[in-house]
Every structure is written in C-alpha cells, then in structure tokens.
C-alpha cells in the first residue's frame, strides 16, 4: 500500500475496527442463538401465607435432558431405567402430575424439572384423552379455614378427592405447555420436537436436547418475613359491584337483595387459570342475570328494595374479595389523609366512598351462583341445580330457598316458572342431610351477620366438581353447560326480582307484576358469547363493543382468571365486568325519547360525558358501578404504601417477587464427554504453564538477563 495515502488508511483502519466490534457483537448474539433457543414459559411460582410457602422454587438454574413420559408406565420405566445417568426434564400430561409421581421422580435423583402439558397437538394431550376422574388439586375443603364454619369441630368436606397438590412446595421448577395461542404453540412445538429427537436417539447417544430453567423466587419463610423484606406483593385485584339504584344511601332504610358470584379461580400455573367450572360459570350467570333484569318493565330503581350485584375477585384465596368488601361496608373507615384530587382517600386508600352507601343491616337476601356449569363426568347423571343454605340458621333461608326451587321447578302454573325441559332445581338438603353452605362468597356476609337469608346455587349437591382449581378446567359442554347457566340465571333473576318487589309468594302477584316478570328472560346467546369471550378469545365482538380490544395491534386472546397481584399485575376480566355491569345497571329514563349520547370514546374531545357519567361502550351512562380493591383481610396497608399482617388468622396470601423467569433449549454432550472436556482443559492449562515457565528460563539464560 502506498505511504502517500495515510488518511485513507486511517479511515480503513477505523472502519475495520468498527466492523470488527460490530461483528463480534452480532457474533456474540449468533453464538447465543447457536447454543440457546429461548422458549416462552408458563411457570409454577411461589406463594406465601401466614405459615409458610407453596408452589415452586429453584435456587439455581436447573437443567435437564428432555425425557417424554406419556403414561404411568413410562414414568415407572424412567424411574427404573439404569442407563439414564443425567438430570432430566420429565415431560408428562398434566394428569400425571400427582404427589406420588413427583415423590417417585424425586427419589431417583435424576429429576431436574417437570413440564406438564395441558393441551397439545399430540393425541396424548388431547382434551378427549383426559381421564374423566382426574382429581382436583385443591384441598378437600377449599378455603374452608376462612369460611363460615371454620370454628366448627368438623366441617363437611366438599372436595373429598382433592389431592392438595396446590398447597405443596417444590424445590425444582415445574412449567406448563399449552397450545392455546400462536406463541405458546411455538414453545410447545420446539420442546416436543427436541424431546422427539432425544427419544429417537434412545436418550443415550449424545448430544441430546436439554432445557434450562430460571425460576428463582425471592420470597421465603412466610408472608410476614416476606412483606418485611418487600419481596412479595399481596394477591388481589379488583372486585366489581353495581346497583341499578343509583340513589342508594346508607340511611334510606330500603332492604337490599344481593346477587353475587366469584370472578377468579386458581390453579398450579397462573397464566393458565381459567376455572370455567370453578368460577366462570357463576360469573357468567350473574352477568346474564344483570342483562335479564335490565329488561324488567318495572324500573328496578323504583322497586321497594335495592338490587346489588357483587362480583368478587380474590375469592380463590380465602374469599379475600368478599371479606374485604364486607369489612369495608361495615367498618366505614374514616379518611385520615384525603386524596390530592377526586372523591377518594390517600390513607386508608379508597378511590371513592360510594360503597359506604351499602348498609349490611339492610341486606335481606343473598343469591349466589357457584359452580353451575354441570361440567362433570357422565356417571353423575343428568344436570341438576341445587340450592344450598346455611345449616346453623337454616330456618332464616327457608322462604328464600322455597322461592328459588319454585322458580326453577316449573311445577306451578304461573308465568314466572321455568318451562318444562329446563334443568331441574331442588333444595340441596332435599335428601335430608344438612351440609351447610359450600365454600362461597356468601359466607363472608353471613360471618358479619348470621341471619341473612342466603341461597347458593350450584350444580352439585354433595361434592364440588373434580375440575375445581384444575389447569384443565378450560372447556365446557356447549349444550349442557349453557342450559345449566341459563336456568341458574333465570332462577336467580326471577327470585331477585320477586324479592326486590317484596313478593313472598309468586302465586300472589298482581296482574301488573305477572306481566312484568314475564319481561325478564335470559339471553342464551349472551351466555354462549360470555363463555367464549372470557375463556377463549377476549377479542370477541361482545368485549370489543365495550373495550375496543381489536384496535390493539396485539389483540388479546385467552386471558387468565388468576387474581394477580394488587395494583401491579391486574387482569382484564374485572374491566370487562365493570363495563358490562355499568351498561346493564345504567340509569334509564323511562318513556324518554331523548337519544343516548354516543361517541364519547370514538370521537374524543367532540363528545364529552357529564361529570357524573361514564363513557361505557361509546355511550355516556349514569351508573353506580364501582371497583372495590380485593386483598386478604389479614393484611393492611400502612401509610407509606407497604403492607403488614394485621390478623394472621385471616387470609394473608402474597406472591413472591422473582428474577427473570424463562426456559431455553440447548444441546448437551454426554457426561463422559463433559468430563473429558474438563480434563483436557486442565491438562492444557498445566502444559501451558510449563511451557511459559520453561520459555522464560530459556530466554533469560540465552539473553543473559538477570
């Protein structure tokens, strides 16, 4: 190169340097990509309560060669196979993830991690391949320690086959695979393909495909220690309550009829929690009731009694939502530090105080929809609905339960009763056994005031659905389930209507009432739409009408019904519930010809709602629908926004903070090859050191440098 062009050379030097730097950067990524394949993950995480921890923890990154087991026999073979000398990631269908199997796998010292497949394209993981008798992973009486009968010597066990898996703790990672959307299907395909390669190689001819898991949970000991160190967040979210009586006040002396359900449920993998039978059927029932009652030709806010809808979040965690709601309406806390703006309070934190208009002493009836989907194994016969009442004060609810049964029986000849062919409704104690109330939100009301007439409607009489708290509680029967919910909604809406009208006996209705109650009918299509939207695809027309979800470039599909953590990770289902209820309970001016104000969402700035109105589904509505914070009543917030345990006997569930969670696929060489690699490295180091030592000595001697 000519010396007369230094500038050019300089430029080329810089360019070369820059390119080298860029190259090594991209190459570092290339090398990473060459070794690892990051896979989307659905983890089991650690939760804490007053006495300890549950869920999964792995202190160091666990790795394991993928090993596929499709049956109990496969697991046995894995355990007894002496040719397997590594740590393994055992892939299994979710129903094989049982305590005995986990113990068995742990005893081999070969277990690195477990992957449970909930749904997959392989026939082994198909919904039809699921065993009908897979037991619930919840306890034998879910949340009963926080329920109405927690003080009793013996409690009726509503979930006798419950394995309690959800309450165990595991010191290795457990992840799920589920082909529920495009991203998770990619993960599923990547992992299953890698497992097939391993199987093809007989799990012995290396290199084999392995997975590395990161699942380090910070939280330890119990909620008390964890909150002190600020390593966990209370489980919670937003409950929703609504009433057509926009003018309800604490002192109006008007009785209240409560229609209630839980919105959330739990399962081992929170991203997968749907709880179709566990809670969604009840939630859909209450939404359908609100829609049915909104058709009443007698305005609901003009009735002798108020109707109050409550949809609770956090119910799967010791009835956190309902207990906090009842606690807040009864204690009527004074505001110590007002909010900077708006009607709320900064401490104790309340966004507004509308809930203080609800008077617990005025509640005259509680109607709750529990598991009403009749999603069960074929052996249990045709679907039926059962009305449960409290066993301690059963007399209080006698009239109410009679009315519920009457509304569902179709036996009486008035127009209010259900048509023949509908799902039959009967008192749960019609077999002469008083079991009391099953685990339900109603218990929270009764704990505060025991003599409220209360009926909990479920599709079981003696035993909760085995689907309770299962990750596989994700499907329903398009006919039976919808009919069952339809009947539950019909019975509850008519009973609530009669109660609100103050009619004790349907046979004694006036002609106007007879006609008006006929206007209440449950929309079967709405039930189907709600089930589809809330369990399959949130970007459906119904939700879109309220929330314009499809405008989002990443339109949501299946969304979990796990409550999430308070004020940090909240779920969208309460937002939909709020909008739907606000619309259904909106203040209506009867015989008014004024058109509704439309466009508040589609034409922002041009159409503005009045200050007391909300923009719901592009329309300005006046509505008394509110969110209510839900978190364990054993917890309390202090002035600096931290939490502490106020009463350890009440629910205090928290979720641990964690480092990045993730999985990645990579090739692993045989343990022998790994040892050889290490030995080669050591030998090379020693040889290198020797050569350097000798070379120095030689150079010093030759050049005579001292």
């Amino acid at each position: 190169m000519s010396a007369g062009r230094p500038r050019t050379r300089n430029f080329f030097c810089k360019l070369a340097l820059g390119l080298t730097a860029l190259y090594s950067l991209t190459q570092a990524q290339d090398v990473y990509d060459l070794i690892y394949n990051d896979v989307g993950s659905l983890p089991c995480v650690r939760l804490l309560n007053a006495t300890g921890v549950i869920g999964c923890q792995s202190i160091s990154a666990a790795t394991g060669v993928l090993f596929r087991t499709d049956s109990q026999d496969d697991i046995q073979q894995f355990v007894t196979n002496r040719n397997l000398g590594n740590k393994y990631t055992v892939i299994m269908p979710h129903w094989l993830l049982t305590s005995p199997n986990i113990q068995l796998l742990k005893s081999t010292d070969k277990l690195g991690a477990i992957i449970a497949v909930i749904n997959g394209t392989d026939p082994v993981y198909a919904v039809t391949a699921r065993p009908a008798n897979a037991p619930s992973p919840d306890s034998t009486c879910p949340n009963c320690e926080f329920g109405l009968y927690s003080g009793a010597a013996t409690q009726y066990q509503w979930n006798p086959t419950g394995t309690g898996l959800l309450y165990e703790q595991f010191d290795f990672p457990i992840y799920a695979l589920n082909t529920m959307d495009a991203r998770n299907t990619m993960s599923y395909n990547a992992v299953m393909q890698a497992a097939s390669i391993n199987k093809f190689k007989g799990y012995t001819s290396y290199p084999l495909k392995a997975l590395q898991f990161n699942a380090f949970m910070w939280g330890a000991e119990d909620t008390e220690a964890c909150l002190r160190r600020k390593w966990c967040t209370p489980l919670g979210g937003a409950s929703v309550w609504a009433t057509p009586s926009t003018n309800i006040s604490f002192t109006d002396n008007k009785p209240i009829v409560v229609v209630s359900a839980a919105m959330d449920s739990r399962s081992l993998f929170h991203d997968l929690t749907l709880g179709v039978e566990s809670s969604l059927t009840g939630m859909v029932t209450v939404l359908a009731v609100a829609e049915a009652l909104s058709r009443s030709t007698i305005p609901l806010d003009s009735m002798p009694k108020h109707i109050l809808y409550t949809l609770f979040t956090g119910e799967a965690w010791g009835f956190s939502g309902s207990q906090r709601f009842v606690q807040d309406i009864t204690t009527r806390a004074k505001c110590i530090k007002p909010a900077a703006s708006g009607p709320g309070c900064a401490f104790p934190f309340f966004p507004d105080f509308a809930f203080q208009n609800i008077n617990l002493d005025r509640i005259e009836a509680v109607l709750e929809a529990g598991q009403v989907g009749s999603i069960r194994s074929a052996t249990e016969g045709s679907p039926s609905l059962f009305a449960h009442v409290d066993s301690i004060q059963s007399g209080v609810s006698a009239a109410l339960v009679k009315q519920v049964v009457q509304m569902g029986s179709g036996a009486s000849n008035d127009t209010a009763a259900a048509p023949n062919g509908a799902v039959p409704v009967q008192a749960a104690d019609s077999d002469g056994v008083q079991r009391g109330l099953p685990p339900s939100s109603s218990m929270s009301f009764l704990k505060a005031r025991a003599n409220i007439p209360t009926v909990v409607l479920t599709s079981y009489q003696k035993q909760m659905s085995p689907l309770t708290s299962q990750d596989a509680d994700d499907s329903w029967d398009p006919v039976t389930t919808v009919s069952s919910i339809e009947q539950a909604a019909s019975v509850i809406s008519k009973t609530a209507w009669l109660q609100a009208q103050g009619v004790a006996d349907a046979a004694l209705m006036t002609a106007t009432q007879q006609q008006a109650i006929g206007s209440i009918s449950v929309d079967r299509q709405l039930i189907q739409d709600l089930l589809y939207c809330l369990a399959r695809n949130y970007s459906c027309p119904l939700v879109d009408r309220y929330l314009n979800v499809t405008a989002n470039p990443n339109a949501p599909t299946r969304l979990p019904h796990y409550t999430g953590t308070l004020y940090s990770v909240s779920q969208p289902y309460p937002i939909f519930a709020w909008n739907f209820m606000a619309n259904m309970t909106r203040h209506r001016v009867f015989n008014s010809t004024a058109p509704p104000v439309v466009g508040c969402s589609s034409k922002p700035g041009l159409v503005n709602c009045a200050s007391n109105e909300y923009c719901v589904g592009d329309r300005c509505v006046l509505s008394l629908t509110r969110y209510h914070d839900s978190y364990g009543t054993g917890l309390a917030m202090n002035e600096d926004g931290g939490y502490y345990i106020k009463d350890a006997s009440k629910p205090v569930w928290t979720e641990s903070t964690w480092n990045d969670i993730g999985l990645r696929l990579f090739d692993v060489t045989s343990p022998g090859a790994q040892k050889a690699e290490l030995a080669t490295g050591i030998v090379l180091t020693l040889v290198g050191a020797g050569v350097v030592w000798y070379a120095r000595k030689y150079v010093a001697k030759t050049l005579k440098v001292d």
């Binding site: 923890q57 202190i59 910070w218 939280g219 330890a220 008390e224 220690a225 002190r228 160190r229 390593w231």
Partner: protein
Amino acid sequence: MAKPIEKMGPEEILTISKKLFYGGFGLLPFLWVYNVLYIWPVRNRSDLSPQVRHYVLMSGIMSTLLFVVFSVWFGIFVNQRLSWGATGDALTVVLVKGV
C-alpha cells in the same frame, strides 16, 4: 524496609507489644493475634522485659476468648436468625433471597 524484630532492642519490643495489647481494646481484636505472632520468634530472648511476656500472654488469652465468643455468636446467629423476625433482619447485613 522496616527493621526486623530480631534487630530491635528490648525497649522497642516492649513499646510495640504494649501498644498492640492496648490497641486491641479499640475494637481491633486482630492486634492481639498479631501481637502473639509478631513477638513469637523473640519470646525467649533473655534481655526482654517480663512485661512483654505478660502482654503477649494476655493478648493470646483475649484473642482466644474472643474467637470462642464470636464462633458461638456466629453459630447462634446463623441458626436462629430467621426465628428472630424483624430483629434478625436488622442484624443481617445482606439478606439472602429465596431461603
């Protein structure tokens, strides 16, 4: 380079030994250990004042005593830290996550 202890006079050794012993009470217990180790090679020199021997012995006793006390405390702390609740956390410099 500092003068090796073998070349020091008895007065100098006495001063150092005394300073090290009293210095140890200033929350510097390692000075006691150091005192013993430093004087050890010259402990049998005949020209040394008997006071040196006294300081070294006392330093040895103090360091041994403290070693026992610290070891016992460490054992108790490690095993009981979690059961002391908020106090335990306050006494811990770096809280260990996950356990």
